[in-house]
């Protein structure tokens, strides 16, 4: 069985489980909105958002809700004691990683579909100014965050105190993604959008995605061997 076919099966399984309960999507979308609410108190002065705050709020909410989705996605495997079965399945180990990554990316895109208009509405961010680049930045950032996040969530699934260790490990690794996302998006939200900066950030994010997905595919099998 090919790598991608195995990944497709894993992704379909994850999404089917999610569709039956809709637990992750409902809770994380609401959590993302709660994050935005909290940030509103921190960054709104005199009825308006502080200049440049919208992109930061958007990306931090994406990162926080993404972490939550990651934790739940693997906790599910642990609770149902299906983790060993998953690793014993007659597919390549890397397929498990890719399938989980695809499922997470889809979930995070759903969160972002709600989150981006909400941030635009509540913080007067001009989300329609360069929609193509905005979508590209969000996609590239989501893939990068997911690539590192899925790897560490899978790695930590057997660790003690994994709930704390996941963000402790993940956030430093997500620094380039957050810088690229926040400042690329901020350049687009500016009164005069700076397309060049957004393009440079996009290029950096795409290289980050390529390198870290490749690295994760290489190291996933040896790292998950008991």
């Amino acid at each position: 069985m090919g790598l991608l076919h195995g990944a497709w099966l894993i992704m379909r399984k994850d999404l089917r489980v999610e569709l039956r309960s809709r637990e992750i999507i409902y809770t994380t979308v609401f959590f993302a909105m709660a994050c935005v609410l909290v940030f509103a108190f921190a960054f709104v002065r005199g009825g308006r958002a502080v200049e440049g705050a919208a992109s930061g709020i958007l990306w931090v909410a994406v990162a926080f809700s993404g972490t939550l989705a990651l934790g739940r996605g693997f906790e599910r495997e642990r609770q149902a004691e299906t983790l060993r079965a998953l690793l014993m399945a007659p597919i390549e180990r890397a397929s498990v990683y890719l399938g989980k990554l695809f499922a997470l990316i889809l979930l995070m895109i759903l969160i972002e579909i709600v989150l981006v208009p909400a941030v635009g509405l509540l913080f007067q961010a001009p989300i329609g100014q360069a929609p193509g680049l905005l979508v590209a930045l969000l996609l590239a950032g989501t893939v990068g965050f997911g690539a590192v996040g899925t790897f560490f969530a899978a790695l930590l699934v057997r660790a003690q105190s994994r709930d704390v260790l996941l963000p402790v490990l993940l956030y430093p690794f997500a620094v380039p993604v957050l810088i690229g996302g926040v400042f690329g998006t901020a350049a687009l939200f500016a009164p005069e959008p700076n397309v060049d900066v957004a393009r440079m950030m996009l290029a950096m994010l795409i290289s980050f995605d390529a390198i870290f997905v490749t690295l994760a595919l290489w190291t996933f099998a040896p790292a998950m061997r008991e």
Binding site: L156, A159, Q160, L165, V168, F173, P176, F183, A223
Partner: protein, 223 residues
């Protein structure tokens, strides 16, 4: 065996002698024209930063070897290097702001090298937290973290560089004037020797600990 046993005291002795002489060399070095006396922090700050980043790289390489080959020695080296990266990183993070406050007027600047050093230091701390609290099997998880950290460093540098083009700032760029290169090289070598000595010591301790654990297990099996 005797040669490797000799290595540690020799390394320690040479490092100590070099550290003993370093203050005199730093004192004798010429004053920097704009920053004056504060600039002398440089002779300890930069070597500690170099050593810390080198230790992080050693941790990454040893982690890669451990992940693929599962040699315990590689794991001990990775652990020792991560601990030393944190220790030398603390020296760097304390001496850096002290210098920056006098030279730039601010304690911290979000510049590519500074941010990269801070992120790498945080990852090394996270690596140690993972080993400390991760429970059984955490050495493999830590090894994967070490490998990822090595690849991450250039990306942090790159991303901050683009970010900073948004807010251009004056940078302190100067090549080493005459009379400063000598003491700097001296201090850098002293720090690297100290790193080598502490590495050797820490790996020895860890190997002994593992051997002791094995002996305990063997003894309990025989009962």
């Amino acid at each position: 065996m005797s040669a490797s046993r000799l290595l540690l005291p020799v390394l320690l002795l040479v490092a100590l002698v070099m550290f003993g002489r370093a203050p005199f060399m730093i004192e004798a070095a010429p004053l920097e024209s704009t920053m004056g006396l504060v600039q002398k922090i440089f002779y300890f700050h930069v070597p500690s930063a170099i050593t810390s980043l080198l230790a992080a790289m050693v941790c990454g390489l040893a982690s890669l070897v451990y992940l693929v080959r599962r040699r315990p020695l590689a794991d001990f080296v990775a652990l020792a290097a991560a601990e030393l990266a944190v220790v030398f990183g603390i020296v760097m993070l304390i001496s850096g702001p002290l210098w920056a406050r006098k030279a730039w007027g601010i304690w911290w600047q979000w510049e590519a090298r500074l941010t990269m050093a801070l992120v790498m230091w945080m990852i090394m701390v996270a690596y140690l937290l993972l080993r400390r609290f991760g429970g059984p099997g955490s050495e493999v998880m830590a090894a994967a973290t070490g490998v990822f950290a090595m690849v991450l460093a250039p990306f942090v540098y790159w991303s901050v560089n683009i970010w900073r083009t948004l807010h251009p700032s004056t940078s302190v760029v100067w090549s080493l004037p005459e009379g400063m290169a000598g003491p700097f090289a001296w201090c850098a070598i002293a720090f690297l020797l100290l790193f080598a000595a502490l590495m050797t010591l820490r790996v020895q301790i860890e190997s002994t600990r593992a051997a002791l654990d094995d002996a305990m297990l063997a003894l309990e099996d025989r009962r």
